[in-house]
């Protein structure tokens, strides 16, 4: 019996192992990574990246170990092909923090909430799915995403936001305040939450103390695609924080040159916590320190100065302790970007594996500057800013100003066909309906001079706003010669007036116009690494290797709108109604009056013929009043007759009453 049991158990074990080995390729995966990057303006960028993958439902089934159930159901229910939701506080500083690297183009987001989704449903159902999705997400993330439900809040860009976006819907809420209540549900989607692993670093006060904070969630699924290649659902969760390291005493030390030493930092100094081990469910748990291209070249110069020209050039990238800075822990690996065009300068990544650390020996990376270095981040070809023009609350103009940046060498893959360097870019802008943009007033100023619109605009798609129904959407493809220094686009608008209920509680603050998106389809921010199997295993690095078009967002505009008086709607209603009633009544009175007069006229005629008594009475009354009685009465006499009749009646009644009183009493 026991042998049989043992045999059975063995069989079961074996079968389970076998099945496990069979389905090894289709296993759920979770990986956590953290990228740290010193920024040029004495700040530190921390970029958390969590990736969960679920294999296709067809082969794997509905039950998941790691993948969050809520999102799986979301994808299944609304048939989402792609979705991105971001909560952002603060504005990404493109000039200082860079605008031409994978992080800035995919993780720099407009303030507030931005949501876009591509659905795999028929055209007529897209809007319905979107509405349901917004409600679900607003429940999931404790945010007012449900305001994106109304058709005035979202738009359907055609090509301006993403190329070939068919059933894409895009919406953003610039004024959404982002705080821990949004972060907590976001962390709940992680298998280890923030109890273990890299997420444990997310100390709320230190995160929200930063200059920029953006939490992002991106879903992409191939569940419903007709393509054979099914990879299931992939969920990227990223948190990008720009933090200011607290300056220690050493940092305040000034060097001979004017430059100040950058503040040194460590994980515990910027987050107040240490990594005490990886999340056990994670397939990989890595920390990277990225040294930017500009910094690398500066350091190289420094290195060259130190050790004489030409020496140590090859070995520099390998060292984690160089004249510029020092890392407190030796990296497990140094990864160098392979730059196709220029070999000298390239990004260096130091990789740390968290597997090696534990509770007793927590991971606390320290980054110590040794020498003041000034460098600059790679910039997008154009620096965009947007502002309002005009004064008053009746009308104004939106201006998008684009200034050419200093082309960092080799980055511009300029379109040099036809011997002329042309720079292409798209502008995508959604304007709420109460800002009525007159698209025909579009003007282009190139280098400050007004130019014909047709010379620079290749394509344009306008969907004019409709009051209380849809926002105005503008997608523009522009083409500029490379020599152009600045371009300004202006559009005039009228400010609309809202119903009293449509104003937000703080109506006098103004309304936010969502950021415009400027994308450069010809430029791709991507890093190239040497082909290596281990690299492909890191989702963050493979993300960096993907070609993503350079994107940048403009500022949010605050448009003050006129407000009606909120205090007394009843007064307005009643006064208006009174005026209308007066009008109606008096007009009716005038129209009706003739009838009475006619009657009187007829009566008088009648009384002339028959009413002896009446005549007598009137005679009597005339005598009483001491006036001569006129047989031909004019209108006024007739009217006075009426009044005299009335008086007479009153007197008569009074007399009868007096008589009655006298005789009966």
């Amino acid at each position: 019996m026991a042998a049989v049991l043992r045999f059975l158990i063995a069989v079961l074990l074996f079968s389970s192992i076998a099945s496990a080995s069979l389905s090894q390729e289709e296993e759920e995966e979770f990986s956590e990574e953290l990228l740290l990057k010193p920024l040029a303006d004495r700040k530190v960028l921390a970029h958390f990246h969590f990736e969960s993958k679920a294999p296709p439902t067809r082969t794997y089934g509905h039950h998941h170990r790691l993948f969050p159930k809520a999102l799986y159901q979301l994808v299944q229910k609304f048939r989402i092909r792609e979705m991105e939701l971001s909560f952002t506080q603060g504005r990404w500083n493109y000039e200082r923090w860079g605008g031409f690297d994978p992080i800035s183009s995919s993780n720099a987001k407009p303030p507030g909430v931005e949501l876009w989704a591509v659905f795999d449903v028929p055209h007529d159902l897209v809007d319905a799915s979107w509405k349901n999705l917004t409600h679900t997400l607003s429940g999931l993330f404790c945010a007012s995403i449900n305001f994106l439900e109304s058709s005035t809040a979202y738009s359907a860009p055609d090509w301006g936001f993403q190329p070939f976006s068919g059933s894409l819907r895009y919406g953003s809420l610039p004024r959404e305040a982002v705080c821990t209540e949004n972060l907590t549900p976001w962390l709940k989607l992680l298998p280890c939450r923030d109890k273990a692993g890299l997420a444990a670093l997310m100390d709320r006060p230190s995160i929200y103390r930063g200059f920029y904070h953006s939490q992002r969630l991106r879903l992409s699924s191939t569940e419903f695609g007709s393509t054979e290649l099914e990879s299931g659902i992939a969920l990227d969760q990223t948190l990008t924080v720009v933090l200011q390291p607290t300056t220690s005493q050493r940092a305040s030390m000034t060097y001979s040159s004017d430059s100040v030493l950058q503040p040194s930092w460590s994980l515990s100094s910027i987050f107040g916590r240490k990594v005490s081990g990886r999340c056990v469910l994670a397939k990989s748990s890595n920390v990277y320190v990225q040294v930017e291209r500009g910094l690398v070249s500066e350091l190289k110069n420094l290195h060259a100065e130190d050790e004489g020209s030409g020496a140590g050039n090859v070995t520099f990238e390998k060292t984690w302790n160089n004249p510029g800075f020092e890392l407190s822990i030796a990296p497990n690996r140094v990864i160098k970007e392979v730059n196709i065009l220029h070999d000298e300068t390239s990004i260096v990544l130091y990789e740390y594996l968290i597997d090696n650390y534990s509770n007793s020996e927590p991971f606390d990376l320290g980054f110590t500057w040794k020498f003041p270095v000034v460098w600059s981040s790679p910039q997008a070809p154009l620096h965009a800013s947007r502002f309002l023009m005009g004064s008053g609350n009746e009308r104004g103009a939106i201006a998008i100003s684009l200034k050419a940046t200093e082309p960092s060498d080799g980055l511009w893959v300029a379109d040099t066909i036809e011997n002329s360097c042309m720079l292409r870019f798209n502008v995508f802008q959604v304007v709420p309906w109460y800002v009525r943009v007159y698209f025909h007033t579009l003007q282009v100023f190139v280098d400050g001079k007004p130019q014909s619109v047709t010379d620079f605009i290749e394509r344009m798609r306008i969907s004019p706003s409709e009051d209380k129904v849809s926002p105005g959407v503008m997608e523009m493809a522009l083409k500029l010669p490379c020599c152009v220094k600045s371009v300004t686009l202006t559009l005039e608008f009228d400010k609309g007036f809202l119903h009293i209920d449509e104003y937000p509680p703080d109506a006098n603050q103004g309304f936010d116009i969502p950021s415009a998106v400027i994308s450069f389809p010809d430029f791709h921010a991507s890093m190239h690494f040497l082909k290596d199997d281990s690299l492909n295993k890191s989702p963050l690095l493979s993300k960096f290797q993907e070609k993503s078009p350079v994107l940048c967002y403009t500022e949010v505009l605050l448009v003050p709108l006129t407000t009606p008086d909120f205090s007394m709607p009843y007064n307005v209603i009643t006064i208006t109604c009174t005026v209308f009633a007066l009008y109606f009544g008096s007009l009716l009175n005038v129209l009706r009056r003739r009838v009475g007069e006619e009657e009187r006229f007829l009566k008088r005629k009648d009384s002339k013929k028959t009413g002896r008594l009446g005549q007598l009475l009137s005679k009597l009354f005339a005598k009483l009043r001491g006036k001569s009685w006129e047989p031909t009465q004019t209108q006024s006499a007739s009217s006075s007759l009426i009044s005299s009749k009335l008086i007479f009646k009153v007197i008569l009644v009074a007399g009868i009453a007096a008589g009655w009183q006298y005789y009966s009493g």
Binding site: N393, H440, Q443, S452, R461, I462, K468, T562, V572, L591
Partner: protein
Amino acid sequence: MEEEKETTTTKKKQCFWTWAMASVIFRLVLIHFSRNLNLASRPEVSTPLTSLRRCIFSLFLYDSQTPAHRFLYLNLDLNAPFSLLHCSGRGLLAEAILNFSLCRIHVPRFPFVALNSWAIDSSKVVVESLPTLLSRGEGQYNHLICSLLFVIADFMTAVLIRATGQNLQMAYNQSLKSLGIVRLLERSEMLSSGDIAALVYLWNPLTIVTCVGSSTSPIENLVVVLSLYGACRRLVPLAAFGWVIATHLSLYPAILIVPLILILGYGPDSPRRKLFQQRVSSKVGENPSTDIHYQQKELASQPILPIRFSWWLVVHFILWASLWSCYVLLLCGISVRQYGGLGEMFKRYPCCINCSKVLNDIEKADWDNNLATRDSHEHPLKGSSDPTHSFQTMGNLTAPATANSDTYGFILTVPDLSPNIGVLWYFFAEVFDYFRNFFLIVFHVNILFMILPLAIRLNHRPCFLAFVYIAISSLLKSYPSVFFTGPVKQPSFLWAALPYTLEGQVADLIPNLHPSEDMQFSFFLFCGYVGISFLSPVMHNLWIWRGTGNANFYFATAMAYACFQPKTKQLSSLATYQHPEGHQSCMEFWALPWSCHQGLYENFLIVSTEAGVKPWTVKLDWKIILVVESVSAMLNHDRMLRKLSIMKP
């Protein structure tokens, strides 16, 4: 004597033309400075319906919408007078399109319809000016040409008013003769009311402001006057055309069908039919004391009274109207077909249309066609042969382009709450959504409600009836501008009232000088009107531009404006007519500045004293505006006429 008269009439004619030309020149001068005046953005001048800017925007959309049809458009639509001028509001794309197609086909047919020379001239003018109108480089339009068009429209309106006024006066004289009150005519120095009305129209500051501020209302006004003129002249197709187009442009003139039918049926003006009966009966009943010879002569001169309702003309009119409207609808249907059909025009506003978006893929070639000025000859070819064109059409195919535009819903449901001089915008901004539909119905029914009683009471004075209708609808309409609510429309219909004011009380010429029966009262009214017309811009400025004022202040001025509604002026001047006896002193007062017309005034007094009209106390409920006074005045006038005819001494 007669020679003198002739010379005076020729003088008058010359005088009229010189003044008219002077007004045109004045406008042109103002247009020259219009950029500095910046009138186009005033809420008093341009409403969502009449703002030229929106009109151009909708046209721009239309242009960019159908690049494939541009060839057609450039060739055929050059003769589209209203297309550029009628603003179709925010979502009123269909309107613009409609106007395109409408006018495109109408102009060649103008001679067909046997229009008068003015209409043909207008079409010519428009045809010439349109290419330049189209030329709005970089989103600008040729302001000068556009304004010129409005000036011409204004001038034409004035001329039509004059013609109609003369027509009316003739009818009035005839009716007076038929009533036997010819003395009235003989004694009074006849001022041609048409001239006065036309000049008042031309020189009214508010008309000038509207014209210079390039709002499209002059065109709408022109069409209304055209229809009335056509009716007075018994040009049935013209009247029907005017009515259909006016209705199409601003919907509210639809109610004018009642006065139009009455004009055609009874003639432009006649005393009450009862009057004749009464007169006859009184003659029979009481042996007239006047000499029989005169009576007989008068009877002989009295032609067959136009009491009979000429059904034939009315049927004719209805046929023509239905023909025109079918025609318009057909054209609309054709042009709007690709944007969701004719239903779009009549759709109720809040219908939620998410999928229907106007998609415009504009390429370089199209921009050339649209925006940049260039000569129009090359473009059609260029546009069609452009290699990028295929992409364009592809883009249009992939995204179903539907213009969501509800032409009439926009007018009726007041979705645009931007401030204007009316009261509805603020009302609907403040009223609770739950009651919105209710009040929409109430306000619009208020217009309709008065149609029947007024028509019954004033059916013998259809021109005046038309005036009252327009006044009412301008009070209650959704997007009033100064042009419609203000006195401007009134003078345009002053001719309707003028003949009744004993051939022109000259006080009417000065819109602000109010001849009332009570001096204090008129002074108060005058001051109130002036005060409001100054306060309103101030309040607007405070609220909108400086942000210091409150919306209630501006609304209060709008409210007071609705109450004062300067109409009271001309109209109460009518009212004064009724109480000459008791108020001689004040009559003298207001007549003093116009001592040149003392004769007229005396005659007036004599007539009234002879008639022994008791002053019917017109309760000049000045708070309640407008129409009330005019209607009551008119009714009183009728009463007086009756008395004159019956109780002749």
